[in-house]
Amino acid sequence: METALSILSGLFFIVSIYLLLSKYVIRVLLGVALLGNAVNLLIFTAGRLTREVPPIIPSHLDVPAVATANPLPQALILTAIVISFSFFAFLLVLSFRAYQDLKSDDTETLRFAEPKNEPTPPLGY
């Protein structure tokens, strides 16, 4: 089952990279959203999978009675999900504002910070 999930995670990566490479900000954003899931799946799979046994210790025991799912990747992913959501929201609003003010969602024309034919910096001291 790790194999299947590895392949699925690879598919996530391929699609998200393909979207990141496109020239339209909104597609890039979709790519970012997918990339978060791809990475989470990668971490999850790398921590090995266990079916259906969550890492919860019953109240009358000190350690779990049976082998549980690996808790460490879960803890990492849990915060990663929330952070990638905040990040995604930030990028979404950023591109929305850029679209409003520059009237474009094409990365070819969104080059305010690095304009074409930038003059050379002044020589001298």
Partner: protein, 139 residues
């Protein structure tokens, strides 16, 4: 989405979800749940309320500015680490105490306050994002 039924039920749904989110937060130490999940549930509750009834009622309902809530949560989480320094162990080391309030033993700990801090940050920040986008959407 401004149907009458939705508008009528949204406050109740929201209230239920918020209560549920606090439940999820508090049981999180021993059962599935915790600050992040609880915070997200409460934030979605407010987002739903906002979609149904508009942003101003939501702002009135939560009384504080969402970012104040988030800031307070961050402060609470940061302060939750201080007692351990007073006790002479590294910052954020968990400390537990079991006071008995009216015959009931209550487990209090610094991670509890830390988790409440996480909850408030998530609620505040994400509600803030959702509400400001909704305002934008309408205005």
């Amino acid at each position: 989405m401004n149907t009458l039924i939705f508008r009528t039920f949204a406050p109740f749904i929201t209230g239920l979800m918020v209560v549920f989110s606090i439940f999820i937060l508090l049981r999180g130490h021993n059962e599935p749940g915790g600050g992040f999940i609880g915070g997200l549930i409460a934030a979605s509750a407010f987002a739903i309320y906002g979609i149904a009834n508009g942003v101003p009622p939501v702002r009135r309902a939560i009384y504080f500015h969402p970012h104040s809530i988030a800031g307070f949560g961050l402060l609470l989480a940061a302060l939750a680490g201080i007692p351990s320094m007073v006790a002479g162990v590294p910052y954020l080391t968990a400390l537990w105490t079991y006071p008995v309030i009216g015959n009931v033993e209550v487990a209090l700990s610094t991670p509890l306050f830390f988790d409440i801090g996480v909850y408030l940050v998530v609620v505040g920040a994400i509600t803030g994002i959702a509400l400001s986008l909704e305002e934008r959407h309408r205005g």
